[in-house]
């Protein structure tokens, strides 16, 4: 190995300055991310419950979660249910809006503002609004359904079978702003592809299937996988929309994060909840690995098509 030359004085000064500039991030990383995570990993192997006990229990927390805790699996199932519907439907919403906007319709600016609004309208206020919109008796949705002749419209957040669909509808509303990324992708598709297809007599629908969909698929897959990973962390809204924030009715909105929150800050089983956190981290990691592997291939494909 070649010995590295000693840094010149100027280089060294720049290095010190560099570390000073990134110090806020570096300290924050050590104090608020890396340190806490190591602590949390350790805590996940103990029965830590804030008061005093900090006994090493080995893999007991993980064993109990995986083999002895029906609520763990129920919360995972609820979260997966939400993800499986909310993510593709959200992508479809954004994609459809992008395709429509790409038709050079008049009023682009107004439409863009409207579709973006849900991205801004978040927080407790909007969740309360949804509770009111889904109100079984007086909410406009059920009034409309009765008007259409539905005799017993869903009770939404009061019905275990309809609470998750209600949340999925809410998520689709929020996903409208996602059009922005698909529109950028659509506009990146070379025009000559469509022109060639039109000359060959392909209908717009056929062009959409044969050109738009394949050209957009990298973006769609990326959003799908990143979306799944994000949806695994969906739970905060349930604190507001479920009765008492308990994940009801009949545990139908007990999402993974909510169960972890209850274990950690309701029952103060911090060790147990830390184990849940690490299982979530592993799930997220798995999605990230899949995404990185696939994205390598997409870059390759795109290079070929040029």
């Amino acid at each position: 190995m070649v010995k590295r030359p000693r840094m010149s004085a100027m280089r060294r000064k720049e290095a010190i300055t560099g570390y000073l500039f990134i110090m806020p991030w570096l300290l924050g990383f050590i104090l608020f991310t890396a340190g806490p995570m190591l602590f949390s990993l350790y805590a996940s192997f103990t029965n830590y419950d804030v008061t005093s006990r900090f006994d090493w229990v080995g893999l007991e927390n993980y064993r109990r979660l995986l083999f002895d805790d029906p609520f763990f699996w129920l919360s995972l199932k609820n979260t997966a249910y939400y993800a499986v519907f909310a993510v593709p439907l959200g992508i479809a919403t954004g994609l459809i809006i992008a395709v429509l906007l790409n038709q050079q319709v008049p009023g682009q600016r107004v439409f863009r503002t409207i579709f973006f609004l849900p991205k801004v309208l978040t927080g407790v206020a909007v969740l309360l609004l949804w509770l009111w919109v889904f109100n079984p008796n007086f909410g406009p949705i059920n009034v409309f359904l009765r008007f259409l002749g539905v005799e017993n419209p869903p009770l939404w957040f009061s019905d275990p079978n309809w609470s998750k669909p209600a949340l999925i509808i809410m998520s689709m509303w929020g996903a409208a702003g996602g059009y922005i990324i698909y529109l950028a992708g659509l506009q990146g598709i070379p025009k000559h592809l469509y022109e060639a297809a039109a000359i060959d007599g392909a209908s717009p629908f056929r062009q959409f299937l044969a050109i738009t969909v394949p050209m957009m698929s990298p973006t769609i897959f990326f959003k799908l996988i990143v979306g799944f990973s994000g949806a695994m962390q969906f739970w905060e809204s349930v604190l507001i929309v479920s009765e008492g924030g308990q994940g009801g009715p009949s545990y139908s909105t007990l999402f993974y994060g909510l169960y972890m929150w209850q274990e950690a800050f309701g029952r103060y089983r911090m060790g147990y909840a830390s184990a849940m956190a690490w299982i979530l981290l592993l799930i997220t990691l798995a999605f990230t690995v899949i995404q990185l592997n696939l994205s390598k291939r997409w870059v390759h494909y795109e290079g070929d098509s040029r």
């Binding site: 990383f29 038709q103 407790v124």
Partner: protein, 298 residues
């Protein structure tokens, strides 16, 4: 990031095929697209309109069936009434100060760290940047529990410190966003200043920060929106009513007593108002920030 750079190209506006003749397919398609967009817009606006409508109703019309969309009379006094039913002025002051502190801390610390990553060379920089990227993947729930234990050991529970202090330690995503922006600023500018003997801090303050106003605004506006609407952090750390933020206060306003919907919607509207105003005033930055975060985080 690849996608984000393509956004808002002027080409979108100008590539209408003016020379080509209109073919019937296109006219049909455009009309259809326009109609569908109007329907989707109506679906998106409808909850917001329902909120405004409810907020302006006299209590006799809130539960009317079929629902009344335009109340008569318009009860503008509902807003004042709702505001006075809980200490919302107190919550408003708390939330404003809290949000300002977090926005200031985030913009300052992320901008400094981003300069270090973008413009300075030091051993370990690229490795640390990969670490920074990796931390963006970590779910917030993973650090929430140990952070709570840390802050409770420090005796910070029941204060704003756990919510404000971390924002002065450069969060990964906005540091990354600003670093990408700083990379596009030509190095010649800072090199020239360095020849004249300027320090890096001077260059950051006098060259980089003024040139990156759009990116800094995006960070500020996104942080504002996120902090103003945050709920889980405040509910975890703020356990006294006089400390509540608007979000927490609104939730307690709802559960404390059987509140009537017109007051609840009026209060909710007022809580959202600052974010809505900022959105309409700085829409461009919102859209840019959302595009980047959606290209990176999904």
């Amino acid at each position: 990031m690849r996608q984000a750079s393509k956004l808002e190209t002027p080409e979108t506006q100008t590539r209408l095929p003016k020379v080509r003749r209109w073919n019937p397919w296109q006219i049909l398609l455009r009309t259809l697209a326009f109609v569908l967009l109007c329907i989707i817009s109506a679906a998106i606006l409808f909850p917001a309109l329902w909120m405004i409508s409810t907020a302006l109703k006299p209590d006799t019309q809130v539960y009317a069936s079929p629902p009344i969309w335009i109340p008569d009379p318009l009860m503008w006094e509902n807003f004042a009434k709702a505001w006075s039913l809980a200490p919302f002025t107190r919550y408003f002051i708390n939330t404003s100060l809290f949000t300002l502190a977090v926005v200031f801390g985030t913009v300052l610390s992320c901008s400094l760290a981003a300069y270090g990553f973008a413009k300075l060379r030091f051993p370990g920089r690229d490795f640390l940047f990969v670490v920074l990227l990796a931390t963006m993947m970590i779910p917030g729930m993973v650090t929430m529990i140990p952070q709570f234990i840390l802050f409770s050991k420090l005796g910070w529970v029941g204060t704003y410190l756990p919510l404000v202090v971390p924002s002065f330690f450069a969060g990964a995503f906005f540091t990354f966003l600003l670093r990408q922006f700083y990379l596009t600023i030509p190095t010649e500018l800072s090199e020239a200043a360095k020849m004249d003997g300027a320090s890096d801090f001077w260059i950051w303050r006098r060259v980089i920060v003024p040139l990156s106003a759009p990116a800094l605004s995006t960070v500020a506006i996104f942080t504002f929106e996120g902090t103003w609407n945050s709920y889980v952090g405040p509910i975890l750390y703020l356990n006294k009513e006089e400390l509540y933020t608007l979000q927490v206060g609104l939730q307690f306003f709802r559960t404390a007593s059987e509140v009537q919907w017109q007051y609840l919607m009026a209060a909710s509207l007022l809580v959202m108002l600052p974010v809505i105003i900022i959105f309409f005033a700085f829409q461009r930055y919102f859209v840019e920030g959302a595009a980047i975060s959606s290209a990176v985080k999904g």
